[in-house]
């Protein structure tokens, strides 16, 4: 299943709804293009909704980290919402769970951007 991405505004925060697999190839490329596009539009408060993403490989993890760093470098914030169990486990064993701000409630996540 390829990756699909749409985005919507929640106040000053851009919520990106992702579905599918973030893996080597088109999935990772689409995530990169989406985040870079938002930064080009000066949208620097980004919340990735991963509720419908049940598979990420090492390339996808690398793309999440790359996006996180790119947003931080522009004084923005990239946070994660609604991790599936597999994705949460993956971020935990790679110690990235402590790097990203992770939320289970969208309103709480949006408010956290300040």
């Amino acid at each position: 299943m390829s990756l699909h991405a749409t985005h919507r505004d929640a106040g000053p925060v851009t919520v990106v709804d992702l579905s599918g697999r973030i893996v080597l190839g088109d999935g990772s490329a689409l995530l990169r293009k989406t985040i870079r596009g938002l930064l080009d539009d000066q949208r620097k408060k980004i919340l990735l909704n991963l509720a419908d993403v049940d598979y990420i490989d090492s390339s996808g993890i690398g793309e999440l980290v790359s996006g996180f760093t790119a947003v931080k470098n522009q004084s923005g914030d990239l946070k994660l919402l609604h991790l599936t169990k597999k994705v949460r486990d993956l971020l935990q064993i790679t110690k990235l769970y402590t790097v990203f701000d992770v939320f289970t409630d969208e309103n709480t996540a949006v408010r956290s951007f300040g």
Binding site: D57, S58, G62, V65, L90
Partner: protein, 161 residues
């Protein structure tokens, strides 16, 4: 090779599509061998990472090089070999992705994930002169059940590295 071992071998092109193809092939073997959903996920992910490693680091994405994938199904485990045509590497030279200075690296987690998800993992010098990843997963015990009603272990990944 023992007579009761089933052997499957395929030569893959050095291209992104080979990663999905290898994953799908090994998932079918794993499902047929009786692995449950969680173990199939781990095996599929490990095969992906092995082939990504061969594609990117081993063969340097060169289309004139091949990736050799072999699967052995013995009486007690599924063994996967991923061989590239690169220069080979030593496991001891691979940076630890959990080290503080590497946490924000955008690459270098594939070996770690294979070690975490499989029961046995090693990298040896292959017949092509490239690296050969050899990894295995024990077959589920006959009659064992997992939460999804199939053979397998718990869903929580095991961290070995």
């Amino acid at each position: 090779m023992a007579s009761d071992t089933k052997h499957l071998e395929i030569t893959l092109e050095t291209q992104v599509e080979s990663v999905n193809l290898a994953e799908e092939m090994c998932l079918r073997v794993a499902e047929a061998a009786g692995f449950g959903e969680d173990d199939c996920y781990r095996i599929g992910m490990s095969v992906r990472e092995g082939v990504i490693n061969a594609f990117h680091y081993g063969n340097k994405e060169r289309r004139d090089k091949k990736i050799h994938l072999a699967v052995d199904l013995t009486a007690d485990k599924m063994i996967i070999h991923v061989l590239d045509e690169g220069a080979g590497f030593k496991l001891s030279d691979v940076p630890d992705p959990l080290a503080e200075e590497n946490l924000l690296s955008t690459s270098g987690r594939g070996i770690f994930l294979m070690r975490a998800f499989m029961d046995e993992f090693d990298v040896v010098s292959g017949r092509t002169g490239g690296a050969e990843i050899v990894m295995s997963k024990k077959l589920p015990a006959p009659g064992s059940t997992s939460p999804n009603g199939q053979g397998g272990q718990s869903a929580t990944p095991q961290q070995e590295a």
